[in-house]
Amino acid sequence: MIYLIISIVLGIIILIMAFIALYHRNLKVAILSAGVVSLFASILYLLLDAPDVALTEAAIGSGLTTIIFFYVLNKIQRNDAEK
């Protein structure tokens, strides 16, 4: 029962964060909230007894992808500033 409540709360947070990631004007906030989506999704996978997927999601989804997005955002903004 407690797992069900936690899962529902996590799902609602994921939906809110995904909405922010899509519609927020500041791209940094959008990238961070996309990372938070992955982080909470990995907890959800753990609750659903899929620790292998949870490990992958936590390491790649919320760690590396966020960093890569920030690097790319930096590159894009610099290129815009030059023009």
């Binding site: 620790p51 292998d52 949870a54 490990l55 992958t56 390491a59 790649i60 760690g63 590396l64 960093i67 890569i68 690097y71 790319v72 930096n74 590159k75 610099r78 500033a81």
Partner: protein, 234 residues
């Protein structure tokens, strides 16, 4: 008006298709035949305590080879295009802000532990959750932390490329050995299966996962390193 009604018709058609799909779905009450074979015969055939690893590395080992190849091609393309549009100029990195005291101190403490955790995850891939991909990603995040704490540090791309190609070749060679010494490509019964649950068990899976982990770790580190080196200052 005509376009809008066309859209409506297409939407309605999709709604009908989706509804029939959802309506016809019912939860499976037993495992499918393939899944049942894996679940009942996996421990004796493969000898891996983590059944997911048995499926990923042995039963579906060919898919894993494909995934590793895709990651390799991605890393190669990113490296190629970033070095194509990036002109080397030494003064680009000298105005970089130093990392904060907390980040640089914490990274010195954390990086060795992260590397050990990554190695643990892929060495124990056949016993505990995790495996080559996860361990490789953890190792790559250790290098990300290194680059964040000290942006001027340069990764040695020659060593990374060497580790990557050696482990890729070793992965395929072990797979080919399986054809001659065991049942087929990427069969894990080249070595003795050993005692179920021991560190040196499940045939060749630990060896394969070490190579996959090294390959994935070096590929992801390579991507991050290329992105880091081609960043510009304002």
């Amino acid at each position: 008006m005509l376009r809008n009604s066309l859209f409506l018709i297409v939407l309605a058609a999709f709604a009908v298709i989706a509804f029939t799909l959802v309506n016809a779905w019912h939860p499976a009450e037993s495992l499918s035949p393939v899944a049942e074979h894996y679940a009942t015969n996996g421990p004796t055939e493969v000898g891996a305590a983590n059944l997911v690893t048995a499926v990923v590395v042995t039963y579906r080992g060919f898919d894993t080879l494909g995934e590793v190849t895709i990651l390799f091609v991605t890393a190669a393309i990113i490296g190629f295009f970033l070095s194509l549009f990036h002109s080397e100029s030494p003064e680009q990195t000298d105005r970089l802000m130093p990392a904060s005291e907390i980040l640089s101190t914490a990274s010195k403490l954390l990086i060795p532990f992260m590397l050990v955790l990554g190695i643990y995850v892929f060495v124990n891939g056949h016993l505990t959750p995790g495996g080559g991909f996860q361990g490789g990603a953890i190792i790559a995040s250790a290098f990300v932390l290194l680059l964040l704490a000290d942006p001027l540090s340069k990764l040695n791309h020659r060593i990374i490329a060497m580790v990557e190609s050696v482990s890729g070749v070793a992965f395929v060679l072990i797979g080919l050995l399986g054809i001659f010494l065991a049942g087929g490509f990427l069969d894990n019964r080249i070595l003795d299966l050993g005692t179920f649950g021991a560190l040196l068990s499940a045939g060749v899976i630990p060896l394969l996962y070490i190579f996959i982990g090294l390959k994935v770790g070096s590929e992801l580190t390579n991507i991050i390193g290329h992105l880091q080196q081609t960043q510009k200052n304002r």
